[in-house]
Symmetry: C2
Subunit: 477 residues, 2 copies
């Protein structure tokens, strides 16, 4: 450790990869475009997975597992789906030493294989709704990759639900968007804007794609999750019908929704600073690190013992705690390491703290330092962690507010985008042509048509044609 990371203002992209690697979240692998998620990064992902999985189960979903290998022909069943995913497929042509009769693709997403099974499982309205989620790895062949944000193989969850009516499918699509937003804001401390993707940006095979969008430290946007209303597209492609209460056969309605290890990147970029990661307490693999401070052997014995005693109290209270009692590193070196790793709260325990029956606390987020009585230390630490969680969210909300601007002319649009970045709230005439032209001239894309009720008539910032509401533009990852 103790390795310098470049400053954010100097080179944000390098800062990002420096932090991800030096904090040991992930590492490059020998396979192009694929990364290794290291134990510290995977511990973070496990906590994220648990927070999401709990929410999925609370909303009535169950987990299952479908094959990773999909007959190539399945991809061709839904016209938009194959067009969207064909360029990204990894293809298995040989198995067990022989050439396969039909090539298999590694799932880039699982709608096709899942809807092929749903045909078997869904017969009657009594079989609906079917609310299944899968935690899995997927492969999308990527040319330009970046750790967590865009990799050839990544981990994600994909929900695939089947419903009797269009209304139920739309409700489910929005319910899961809310679940994602709640997770992002409550657990990740990352404020998100819920919205609808444009026709050009929607999922290949969806009727409508909803998304949550967030703002990173460099004022670029990151799509954090998507929830798709698939209409009857996949039911039609895979011939999935059910007998309704009147005894008639109808096509089934579908949704799918997913978030991935990309969210780890969102946490890094939404909260990190020049010293490294700043992890939200709810998800941090280590919420509190305890560093004993000593000079003499006698002091060492006493402070190390007290550190482990305090750690035991915190563990009993359900907190994730680590004692750094390595004796080959100085305290200052340890502080830097745990700051790089974004541990939300550090406790220092020295001889004077022992005398005063207190511990010394240092917050990672605002660098505030304060003593805390050792009596009731677990409650005190828990309270501080909650304060940190809320403060991180509040700061991110304020940052987004500062970096969200209403722009009404094309010059203003370009100026603000170039000078400051962030979200631009601007009127758009609703056409693909304008959306494409704006992207080509500025690299900004429509992140979403927000779901809020901030509606006003206006003129398209680019074409001057009439518009019924502002949409959210930004340069994005």
């Amino acid at each position: 450790m103790a390795q310098a990371i470049v400053k954010q203002t100097e080179d944000y992209a390098r800062w990002y990869t420096d932090v991800v690697q030096k904090a040991e979240l992930a590492d490059y692998s020998p396979v192009k475009g694929c990364m290794v998620i290291r134990p510290y990064g995977f511990g973070l992902w496990e906590n994220m997975r648990d927070g999401l999985d709990r929410r999925f189960k609370e909303t009535g979903h169950v987990n299952a597992y479908f094959p990773m290998l999909i007959p190539e022909s399945f991809m061709h069943r839904e016209a938009e789906h194959v067009e969207g995913f064909s360029p990204e497929l990894a293809v298995v042509t040989h198995g067990g030493g022989k050439k396969l009769e039909e090539p298999l693709v590694i799932r880039p997403t699982s709608e096709t294989i899942i809807w092929d099974m749903y045909r078997k499982w869904i017969q009657s309205h009594r079989d609906l709704p079917l609310l299944i989620n899968q935690w899995a790895n997927v492969v999308r062949w990527e040319m330009r990759t970046r750790l967590f944000l865009r990799t050839t193989e990544f981990l994600w969850q994909e929900g695939h639900t089947a419903h009797a009516t269009a209304e139920e499918a739309e409700e489910e699509t929005l319910r899961m968007l809310d679940v994602y937003a709640d997770f992002a804001e409550t657990d990740m401390a990352v404020p998100v804007t819920k919205g609808l993707k444009t026709e050009q940006e929607k999922f290949a095979g969806a009727v409508r794609t909803y998304c949550i969008e967030s703002l990173m430290g460099d004022r670029k946007a990151l799509q954090c999750g998507t929830s798709h209303n698939l209409g009857q597209n996949f039911a039609r492609a895979f011939d999935v019908t059910f007998q309704n209460e009147q005894g008639e056969r109808e096509l089934v309605w579908a949704t799918s929704w997913g978030v991935s290890t990309r969210l780890v990147g969102a946490i890094v970029m939404a909260h990190g600073d020049d010293d490294g990661l700043v992890l939200p307490p709810r998800l941090a693999p280590i919420q509190t690190v305890i560093v004993p401070i000593y000079k003499t052997d006698e002091e060492k014995t006493a402070t190390v013992a007290e550190s482990h005693r305090v750690a035991g109290l915190l563990k009993d209270a359900g907190l994730r705690v680590h004692v750094d009692d390595r004796d080959n590193f100085k305290p200052g070196w340890k502080y830097a390491e745990w700051e790089l790793k974004g541990v939300p709260l550090r406790l220092e325990i020295g001889p004077k703290d022992l005398e005063k029956r207190s511990v010394f606390t240092a917050r990672r987020d605002v660098r505030e330092k304060a003593p805390l009585p050792v009596d009731g230390v677990a409650a005190g630490v828990a309270e501080k962690l909650e304060t940190i969680q809320q403060a991180m969210f509040d700061r991110a909300v304020a940052f987004r507010a500062e970096n969200t601007r209403r722009v009404d002319t094309w010059d203003e649009f370009k100026e603000v985008l170039e000078a400051e970045g962030g979200f631009l709230q601007a009127h758009w005439d609703g056409t693909d042509a304008t959306e494409t032209a704006i992207q080509e001239e500025t690299k900004a894309t429509i992140r979403c048509i927000p779901l809020d009720d901030d509606v006003e008539e206006g003129a398209c910032v680019y074409s001057g044609k009439p518009s019924k509401r502002r949409v959210l533009f930004a340069k994005a990852y």
Copy 2:
């Protein structure tokens, strides 16, 4: 449901696939050799995963994730490893629409990619031990597949550890064997025999392979997990060295160990009967099902309300409970369905039970029925579940004892194997030739050289040559 399953005595193999499919544990997929793990089966696997993961973490391991795609050349670095796995590889030759310069194989196991990373991560004795586990899907091209027991793609965990000394690696190998045995016996209620694999049966690339072996209902053996001491084989192949405390560079010592979704098959076959699954309470997705019994609407209202109230009490006590209040099925139909699905305990609540302030209980394992007072129902149910867990284990232990026989002559060996199956404890001369000859003549394999201290001199059951201890033979899955 309500579909008949064939009797075990009639056709055990068909009984197995009937139960797995009709209890909705898994289903065949359109991809040859690959299965779908359905929500009920995945719920069981989730509980198994959690029980194992907790034990791995308690013994100091952390989880990580390594790429699924491995450069084909990596497989060739370790001579025995490539020989063992080459015939089973799935090969990706095209990605992103182009032919790859070097084909990639889908991991059949991850030693190669992991040890390539360990070269980067391990420099000093301070970096050791490195104790990493991975939960992942793997692919081994199989010709003859069977749901859970042998599928082309399967889910598993694979631990990969690195150590400074041969002694530490051996200790770790045996520690994880003990972890597996504890999980199998305590959570799965499946007694296992710990032992060493013969040279012919050991993992491709290992110095020594330890295993746990269990006996299924048809008296065939099933290998439930393996733990490998890899010596310095992979460190040598991937050039992984560390600086010891004396400042000299040494090759690192390795272990790997894994169990898979095959264990679901073990639970099915160790405990199931002609009515279907019998699940051990610790792992059952539903530990208790509550069925309200009623004739009139008034009775329905009262018994359904009481069922949900009791379910609430059980849930508050941390139990997994389901109320089957569907009104389109009769109680008898529901009983058969939940028996097929192996739910350990059924509660029936009818009008008379309401009067008597009790519930009626029915155990799945021994079909014992008894009333239980509704006051303190949660404690009563929890106690019954513990009783069932222990009884299932005890029965399986007794079954194994009945079906383990000492045989001393070749005729006896063949007779007992043919007539009764089970484990045969017999002397073996320690040669590959004898092991192969016995397998060719009888299909029985050496399951393991047990680790117990039941040692005695004797003469090989086949060759008559001297032997220092009995080994365990069986026909196996």
